[in-house]
Every structure is written in structure tokens, then in C-alpha cells.
């Protein structure tokens, strides 16, 4: 059973060729591929083996798992999770304790070198990684062990991708993203706090269908979903271009749907699919609901100067530096003044007196 292809699995479940075509068309749509690629998807599904997937949860809030499971799970996504062999997920699995750990080890051994590892949450390093442990074993050690035989790692959510909330100042647990610990395996970052569910599923579907990583940008994110910024696709862009901004929540401008730049929207510097794919099966996204973008799929978004401070304001106030500079300038100025005055006085004193007698000599 483990070696079945997707097509064989569907046929075994009594799904006709029509159903298979429908599945492939919907998958291609979800992967943001053109419809002409549905045939390629069908080809891949007919030959791809059911892969093993291990989900590791580290220093996280479980929001990423919630996002993925709370999506209304159209048949496509549940089918996807039926067809992948999700061999280990602490929150979702029925097993617990040593039995679960044993199952994980067995799955790893069976598929050594070929299994996919999904990670959500950051990994604390301080004090030997003691701030996140399972049964006395640090998450750091678990990650290293499980990653050894992985074919690829998907960092789900901003915590696993860039450190996220635990990484924010002052980072008391020494949290780091997955990419700082594992450097010898391909890593896909799927950031967001949480990521859009369909983005998570699409990345998995891409890997499961084609067996390769999708095209990634400079920060390791799939270009299909993170290639553009929110600002580039925002429907409120005409207001930005015309200079019409809401000044406070629920004022006239806000009620008219004007741009939220002055209310701290980080749309221009945030890359994600929120403005096109949206949330809750395309219902809405923060800006459409009247709140500025938090920038949650970018590194260090917690330390980017406050959610309600605009992109043009300083992150740390400059008044301290300014006062110090003025004081230092005044002090140096006074010192320079006194030195110059003294030099002038000395010069005047040293200047030889010339009398009319000297001249007549």
C-alpha cells in the first residue's frame, strides 16, 4: 500500500478517470499552474509514490496547524492528507508517548532519504536548548536527528522560517529558525503568522506531485505565492496613488475604504498572497477588513517599529541620540571657542608693539 501511486490509490477507492481528472485540474489550479499543465499534473500523479511526511512542532503557538485544519478542507486537501502518509503529528495524531515516538522512528527508517519533514515553531538554543523539550529530549536534537534522512524540509510559519515571535527582542530563549540549524538539506520557507492554508497545501501538493521544490525567492519562499507584495495587488492602491489616506480607525477616510498607510500598513514591504488568494476561501484579508497589514510573512516583523507606526517612522526614537548630539556639540563648541579665544589673545599679546620711533630708525 505504501508504494501505491496517487492514481492507483484513487482507483482503489473507486474513483473514475473523470474523478482523477477533476482532482488533477483542481490541484493544478491550487498550485497556481495554468490549466494546460493539468496533463503534467496527471502524469505526475500517475507515477508518484505516496511519500512519508513527518510533522515536527517546536516552539510555536499551534496557529499554523490550526490554520491548516480549520480551513474547511475541501475534498482536495483532505484527499491530500489521505494520500500522504502523515506519520507523525503530535497535535493531530491519536497515538501518544513512546508508542508515537517509536512509530516515527519506524517511518523514518522505512523511508530513509525520501521523507518530507514539516516543521512549525522556532528552535531555542539557549542553555542547551532546554526551553523546548519532548520527554527530556531537546527540540534541537530532535530536529537534527529527523532531518538527517529527510529529502526536504518545509518550514511552516514565520517562526520556523525566520524565528518569528520567540525571535523578537530580547529573544530570551535564543530562538532560531530551521535554516540556521539545518544547512545541508533543501528547505522551503512558507512564512506567515499563520500562513494562508491553501498556500501550505499547495507547497505540499507541488512537492508530492513533482517531487521537486517550487521556484524559491531570495528568502526561500515559493515565488508562486510570495513573489509579489501586498501593495502591488492591493485593491486600495488607487487611493494610495491619489494620496487619499485614512487618518484614524473609523474616520471618514476609513469608512470610504481609503489607503491604510498612515495607520501602519506594512503592505509595501510584505510579500504574500493575501491580496489575491485572501483568507477563508477567498472571503477577505486584513486590509479589506479595514486593518493595515502586519507584515507577518517577513523576517523581524515584530521588531519593525510597531504595527500602527508607518513605514516611514523610525523604529527606535531618535530623540535620545539627538539630545546627546546637541549637548556634545554645544560642549565641543564651547571648548573650541575657549581655545580659539585664548589663541587670539595670545597672538595679540605676542604681537610686537611698534612705535613711531621704530619706524623712523
Amino acid at each position: 500500500m505504501r508504494d501505491e501511486t496517487m492514481l492507483e490509490l484513487l482507483r482503489r477507492q473507486g474513483v473514475s478517470r473523470r474523478g482523477f481528472l477533476k482532482f488533477c485540474a483542481a490541484t493544478a489550479s491550487m498550485l497556481a499552474l495554468p490549466p494546460s499543465m493539468a496533463a503534467a499534473v496527471a502524469e505526475a500523479m500517475a507515477t508518484a509514490r505516496r511519500p512519508t511526511v513527518i510533522w515536527l512542532s517546536f516552539q510555536e503557538c499551534t496557529g499554523c496547524t490550526e490554520s491548516l485544519t480549520r480551513s474547511h478542507s475541501p475534498t482536495l486537501e483532505s484527499l491530500l492528507f489521505d494520500t500522504i502518509s502523515l506519520d507523525y503529528h503530535e497535535t493531530l495524531q491519536a497515538a501518544a508517548g513512546t508508542a508515537a515516538e517509536a512509530a516515527r522512528e519506524a517511518a523514518m527508517q522505512n523511508a530513509w532519504g525520501n521523507y518530507l519533514v514539516l516543521v512549525d515553531g522556532s528552535i531555542p538554543l539557549k542553555d542547551g536548548g532546554v526551553y523546548a523539550t519532548v520527554a527530556g529530549k531537546s527540540n534541537l536534537q530532535t530536529l537534527r536527528e529527523v532531518a538527517e534522512g529527510a529529502a526536504a524540509i518545509v518550514s511552516i510559519g514565520t517562526c520556523a522560517s525566520y524565528g518569528g515571535l520567540p525571535y523578537a527582542k530580547p529573544n530570551p530563549t535564543g530562538a532560531v529558525p530551521v535554516s540556521e540549524i539545518i544547512t545541508d538539506k533543501p528547505i522551503i520557507n512558507v512564512p506567515g503568522c499563520p500562513p494562508i492554508p491553501v498556500v501550505m497545501t499547495a507547497v505540499l501538493a507541488h512537492y508530492l506531485t513533482f517531487g521537486t521544490l517550487p521556484e524559491l525567492d531570495g528568502l526561500g519562499r515559493p515565488k508562486a505565492f510570495y513573489g509579489e507584495s501586498i501593495h502591488e495587488r492591493c485593491y486600495r492602491r488607487p487611493f494610495y496613488d491619489r494620496g487619499l489616506f485614512a487618518k484614524s480607525f473609523d474616520d471618514e477616510g476609513a469608512r470610504n475604504g481609503w489607503c491604510l498607510f498612515e495607520l501602519g500598513c506594512k503592505g509595501p514591504t510584505t510579500h504574500n498572497a493575501c491580496a489575491t488568494t485572501k483568507w477563508n476561501q477567498g472571503t477577505s484579508f486584513p486590509i479589506q477588513s479595514g486593518h493595515g497589514c502586519l507584515g507577518c510573512s517577513e523576517p523581524d516583523f515584530w521588531d519593525a517599529g510597531g504595527f500602527y507606526n508607518t513605514l516611514s517612522t523610525p523604529i527606535t526614537p531618535v530623540t535620545g541620540a539627538a539630545t546627546a548630539a546637541l549637548a556634545a556639540g554645544a560642549a565641543t563648541g564651547l571648548a573650541v571657542t575657549l581655545a580659539n579665544r585664548r589663541r587670539k589673545a595670545n597672538a595679540r599679546r605676542a604681537h610686537p608693539e611698534v612705535t613711531i620711533d621704530d619706524l623712523e630708525k
Binding site: R17, L21, K22, F23, A26, P34, P35, S36, T75, G257
Partner: protein
């Protein structure tokens, strides 16, 4: 104390119907190609940011033609031929009748409607088995 219903909200429909016009132009091009070379094409409506006004324009322009079909596999899929022959509107739903994907296909007949080789051979096996039983019984 006022309730949630008293909070004044304005429901905004973002955007106009410019995207729909672009889709209609693409359908025009695909139809021309179909007539010239026999090869049609497909447009994924889910891949475009279409607003309510976009859908209204598409539905108003394309209309409903002679053919309606429902394919029951992994949930219902509605196939209708629009009032423009050769232009088909496919809506794939899951078992809970939620829309999973929507396509506009331009062609003589949508691929998914045709019977497939392996399904036909499976069906033939089943028919032969049923006839053999009939033969035994009768």
C-alpha cells in the same frame, strides 16, 4: 447596550469588472484558434481576482446554452454549455458542495465529459460479468 447588529458596516465590493472583459477577450481568441486548428483551451477562473461585478458580466455575456450536465465523481461537477457554442463553464465541487475549482473550457466537448479508456474497459468487464450471471440465471 447596543448589539452587534447596531454596528454600522459598509460592505465594499472591491474593483470593477475589467478582469471579466479580459477573460472574454481570451475566450474570443481561443474560439478563433478552435475554428482554425481544432485546438481549444482552458481558463482557470480561480487563478484570477474576479469580483462580483466580474462574474455578473461573464454570466450576462456568456449566458446558458443547450447543454447541462452533472458529473458525480468526488462530488458534483456542473458542466454547462454557454449560449456561445464551444464555450463550456465547469464548476468542480466537493462532496460538501463547496466550489473547489472553476474553469471555462473552449472546445468541441470538455475533456471530463468523455468516457475514458480504462473506465470503459472496467465497465466492459462488469457488463460481461452481469451478462454471464444473466446467462446462468436465465
Amino acid at each position: 447596550m447596543s448589539g452587534l447588529g447596531d454596528i454600522g458596516i459598509a460592505v465594499q465590493e472591491p474593483g470593477g469588472d475589467a478582469n471579466a472583459r479580459a477573460v472574454l477577450r481570451e475566450i474570443e481568441t481561443l474560439l478563433e484558434r478552435l475554428l482554425a486548428s481544432g485546438e481549444g483551451g482552458s481558463i482557470d477562473l480561480g487563478g484570477l481576482p474576479l469580483s462580483g461585478a466580474d462574474y455578473e458580466l461573464l454570466e450576462a455575456t456568456l449566458g446558458h446554452g443547450e447543454v447541462s450536465a452533472v458529473i458525480d465523481s468526488l462530488g458534483p461537477t456542473d458542466v454547462i454549455e454557454t449560449a456561445i457554442p464551444g464555450v463550456w463553464w465547469l464548476t468542480h465541487c466537493n462532496a460538501a458542495e463547496e466550489v473547489m475549482a472553476e474553469f471555462i473550457e473552449v472546445g468541441w466537448c470538455p475533456q471530463i465529459v468523455l468516457a475514458a479508456q480504462e473506465d470503459v474497459s472496467d465497465g466492459l468487464q462488469r457488463l460481461r460479468a452481469a451478462l454471464k450471471e444473466d446467462g446462468n440465471a436465465g
